[in-house]
C-alpha cells in the first residue's frame, strides 16, 4: 500500500512538475510550427489538426489504434531511457527490436505449448535474445573500450541482415512470401473480444498491459532496487562507483542487457500482438529511432516515456488522417521534429514562460535542475 502511495506521489510529482509544463508547452509550439508550414504550403492548419485529433481520439477505433501503435514505442522508449539513466546511449534499439521480434517468432512458431506457457516463454525468449545481443555491445565497451554508439549502430545493421538470413531457411519462411510462418495461436496476445467494440481490424492486444507493467517494473528497478542504485551510480559517476566497490564493467554489460531486453520486449509484443510474423526487411522500420525520440520527449523517466509514447503514437497515427485533405505524410515528421526541438531548447521556453508569468504577475519559480 505504501508502495502504491509512493508511486502515486511520484505520478503527482511528475504531473505537477516543471518539466511537464515545459513539455506541454513544447508540444504546443511544435504544433504551431507545423501549422505555419501547413499554412505556407496552402493547407488549412486547423482543418488538418482537426483531422489528426479526430483520427486519434474521435472514435474507439482511433483510440485503440493509437494505443496499439504506441505499445512498442513505450518499450523502445523505456529501453533508451533506461540506458540513458545509466550513462549509456543505446542507439541500437532498432537492432535489438529486430532480434527480439525474430526470436519471439521462432519461439512462437516452433514451440508447441499451451497459451498460458507459450506467451510468457515467447516473450522471454525475445527479451533474452535481444538482451544478449545488446549486452554484447556492453561487453565490447567494458572489455575493449569500444564506444557503445559505434557498436550499437553496427549491430543494428547486422541484426537486420541476420533477420533476413533467418528467412532464407525453408523451415521458417512461409512459402511464396517474404515472411516467416505465423506464430501459433497459443502465442498470440490479441484481445479478440474487444474487436467487436473497437472495430474488427484493430489489432487490440494485451501488449499495452505488458508495456505498462514493464514500465512500472523499470521504474521500480531504477529507484527501488540495489541494481538500479548501482546502475544509476555508474551512470552518474563511474570513478566514485568503482571506488565504492561497484563493478563498473559488469554494470555496463547488465545495463545494456536490460535495455536490450526492453527493446526485445517491444519486438516480441509487436509480433505476438500485431504482426504475428517477421518479414524480410528492406530498411530499418524506425521503432528504435522513434524510441529515442520518445525517451527524450518523456525526459528519460519511465512515466514520462509512457505518456510520450502515446503522444508520439497518437500523432503518428492520427496524423495520417491529414492525407484526407492532401497533406503529405512528411508533415507528421516535421511536427514531431519541431516538438522535440522545442523540448531540447527548454531554456528558450523558460525564458518565454518567465516573461509570460512576469506579465501576468505570477512570477513562478522556473528553475529546472
Amino acid at each position: 500500500m505504501t508502495k502504491f502511495n509512493d508511486f502515486k506521489a511520484r505520478m503527482i510529482d511528475y504531473i505537477l512538475n516543471e518539466n511537464l509544463k515545459l513539455t506541454l508547452f513544447s508540444i504546443i509550439l511544435g504544433l504551431l510550427s507545423g501549422a505555419v508550414i501547413l499554412a505556407i504550403a496552402g493547407f488549412n492548419p486547423i482543418e488538418a489538426y482537426r483531422l489528426m485529433i479526430v483520427g486519434m481520439l474521435g472514435s474507439p477505433r482511433g483510440i485503440a489504434w493509437t494505443i496499439v501503435q504506441s505499445t512498442p514505442l513505450i518499450l523502445t522508449g523505456l529501453s533508451v531511457a533506461f540506458a540513458f539513466r545509466t550513462g549509456l546511449f543505446n542507439i541500437g534499439v532498432e537492432g535489438q527490436f529486430i532480434i527480439g521480434a525474430l526470436a519471439t517468432t521462432l519461439a512462437g512458431y516452433f514451440l508447441r505449448l499451451p497459451a498460458i506457457i507459450h506467451i510468457p516463454v515467447a516473450l522471454l525468449i525475445g527479451m533474452i535474445a535481444a538482451g544478449l545481443w545488446a549486452s554484447f555491445a556492453g561487453y565490447l565497451k567494458a572489455k575493449f573500450g569500444v564506444h557503445e554508439v559505434i557498436a550499437t549502430i553496427m549491430l543494428n545493421w547486422i541484426a537486420l541482415y541476420l533477420n533476413n538470413y533467418a528467412l532464407e531457411f525453408n523451415a521458417f519462411r512461409r512459402p511464396s512470401s517474404e515472411s516467416s510462418h505465423r506464430i501459433q495461436e497459443t502465442a498470440s496476445i490479441a484481445i479478440t473480444w474487444l474487436r467487436d467494440i473497437v472495430g474488427p481490424a484493430v489489432k487490440v492486444n494485451w501488449g499495452i498491459v505488458i508495456a505498462l507493467v514493464i514500465a512500472i517494473i523499470v521504474h521500480y528497478i531504477l529507484f527501488n532496487t540495489t541494481l538500479g542504485f548501482q546502475l544509476r551510480a555508474v551512470g552518474y559517476n563511474r570513478d566514485a562507483s568503482e571506488y565504492g566497490g561497484i563493478n563498473v564493467n559488469r554494470n555496463i554489460i547488465v545495463s545494456m542487457g536490460i535495455a536490450g531486453m526492453l527493446s526485445g520486449a517491444a519486438g516480441a509484443v509487436h509480433v505476438m500482438g500485431v504482426s504475428r510474423q517477421v518479414s524480410v526487411l528492406a530498411a530499418m522500420e524506425g521503432f528504435g529511432f522513434n524510441g529515442i525520440a520518445v525517451s527524450l520527449i518523456g525526459n528519460n523517466s519511465p512515466i514520462g516515456v509512457v505518456f510520450s509514447a502515446i503522444l508520439f503514437g497518437g500523432i503518428n497515427y492520427g496524423g495520417r488522417n491529414m492525407q484526407n485533405i492532401g497533406v503529405p505524410t512528411e508533415i507528421i515528421n516535421i511536427v514531431i521534429g519541431s516538438i522535440i526541438f522545442y523540448i531540447a531548447s527548454y531554456k528558450l521556453l523558460q525564458i518565454i514562460l518567465r516573461k509570460a508569468s512576469r506579465k501576468s504577475g505570477k512570477g513562478g519559480n522556473l528553475h529546472v535542475k
Partner: protein, 325 residues
C-alpha cells in the same frame, strides 16, 4: 586481379566520400564540444537541396553550394538550440533528423509536382570529373599505352568526381585548421574546457556556432556528393543511415580529421569488398545476407583489435553555461 583491386579502390572511394564529408562535420562540431547526431538529417537536406538545385539550374557548383548552405541552416538551428539555449545536444540532433528529411520530401513534393524524387540531372550537369579530359587526351596521344584508357587501373582509381578530391582536401584543411592555426587551438580549447577558454576571453559561443554551422555545411556537402556525383537524383532512401555511420567514424577516428578519414575509408573498403565478393564472377557461394554484414562486422573487429579506447573532447555533449549573465 589488378583491375579488380583498382575497382575495389574506386568503389571504396565512392562509398567513403559522402561519409568523409559528414564525418568531418562531426569532427569539427564535436571538437568544439557539441555532439551532432543530426548529421543524418543534414546530409539528407543537403542531398535534396543539391539535387533539386542541380535539376532546376543545371549548375552543379551552385547546387553544391546550396547543398552546403541548406546543411548549414540546420547546423545553425542545432547551434541555436544547443549553444544558446543549452539544449541537450542529442535531443536537438534527433529533432533535426525528423525535421530535415521531412522538409526535404515536403519541399520536393511542392516543387516537383508531388514527386518524392528529383528529376535526373544530365551527365554534363553533374559534378565534374576533373581529370577525365586529361586522361582522355593522354590516352589519345597513345604514348602511354592503355594506362589512361577508360576502366584502366589509373582511370578507375584517379578519374574520380571532383567531390572525392574535395573531400580529401577538406581533410587536410580541417587538420590544418584544428592543429596549426590559432582558430583551431581555440576550437579545441572550447571543446576541452570551455570555462578555461572563456576566462581567457575566448568567445565560446561564437566558436561553437561556427563549428556547428560548419558541421552542417559539411554534412550538406556530403549529401550533395551523393546526389550530384554518385547518382544524380534525390530519393528519400538515398542517405539511409550514412549519417550514423559517419557519426561512428568520428568516434572511430578518435575525433581527428585524419582518423575519421581512415575510418570512412575502412568502411568504404569493406563495402567495396562486399560488392566484389558478391559478384557471380567471384563464385563465392555465401548468402548475400551474410555478406552484407561484412562492413559492419569488419568495423567492429577493427575497433576491438586495433583501435582501443578513444577519448572524446572532455566537454563534448555538455552545454556551456556562463555562470551568470
Amino acid at each position: 586481379m589488378l583491375n579488380n583491386i583498382a575497382l575495389i579502390i574506386s568503389i571504396t572511394l565512392m562509398y567513403s566520400t559522402p561519409l568523409i564529408y559528414a564525418a568531418l562535420g562531426g569532427v569539427i562540431s564535436e571538437k568544439s564540444g557539441v555532439v551532432n547526431i543530426g548529421l543524418e538529417g543534414m546530409m539528407t537536406i543537403g542531398a535534396f537541396a543539391g539535387a533539386a538545385t542541380g535539376a532546376l539550374t543545371g549548375n552543379p557548383w551552385l547546387a553544391f553550394l546550396v547543398a552546403g548552405l541548406s546543411g548549414g541552416i540546420f547546423g545553425l538551428l542545432h547551434a541555436i538550440a544547443s549553444v544558446t539555449f543549452h539544449a541537450n545536444q542529442v535531443v536537438s540532433g534527433i529533432a533535426i533528423n525528423f525535421l530535415a528529411p521531412g522538409l526535404a520530401l515536403f519541399i520536393s513534393r511542392r516543387i516537383f509536382n508531388g514527386a518524392t524524387m528529383t528529376p535526373l540531372i544530365p551527365l554534363e550537369n553533374k559534378m565534374p570529373l576533373p581529370f577525365s579530359n586529361i586522361f582522355r587526351s593522354l590516352h589519345n596521344q597513345g604514348r602511354f599505352g592503355n594506362v589512361f584508357a577508360r576502366n584502366s587501373i589509373v582511370d578507375l582509381i584517379f578519374n574520380q568526381y571532383v567531390t572525392v578530391y574535395i573531400a580529401f582536401i577538406l581533410v587536410a584543411i580541417l587538420w590544418f585548421l584544428l592543429y596549426k592555426t590559432k582558430f583551431g587551438l581555440r576550437i579545441r580549447a572550447v571543446g576541452e574546457h570551455p570555462k578555461a577558454a572563456d576566462t581567457l576571453g575566448v568567445n565560446v559561443y561564437g566558436l561553437r556556432y561556427f563549428c556547428v554551422i560548419a558541421s552542417g555545411v559539411l554534412a550538406g556537402l556530403g549529401g550533395a556528393s551523393l546526389s550530384l556525383a554518385i547518382v544524380s537524383t534525390f530519393r528519400a532512401t538515398l542517405v539511409s543511415g550514412q549519417g550514423f555511420i559517419a557519426l561512428a567514424a568520428v568516434i572511430f577516428g578518435k575525433w581527428k580529421p585524419q582518423g575519421a578519414l581512415a575510418a570512412c575509408l575502412l568502411f568504404g573498403l569493406a563495402t567495396g569488398l562486399r560488392i566484389y565478393l558478391g559478384g557471380s564472377a567471384v563464385g563465392l557461394d555465401v548468402s548475400q545476407n551474410l555478406l552484407s554484414m561484412l562492413p559492419y562486422v569488419i568495423t567492429l573487429v577493427v575497433l576491438v583489435g586495433f583501435v582501443g579506447k578513444a577519448v572524446a573532447p572532455a566537454s563534448v555533449g555538455l552545454p556551456y553555461e556562463k555562470s551568470d549573465k
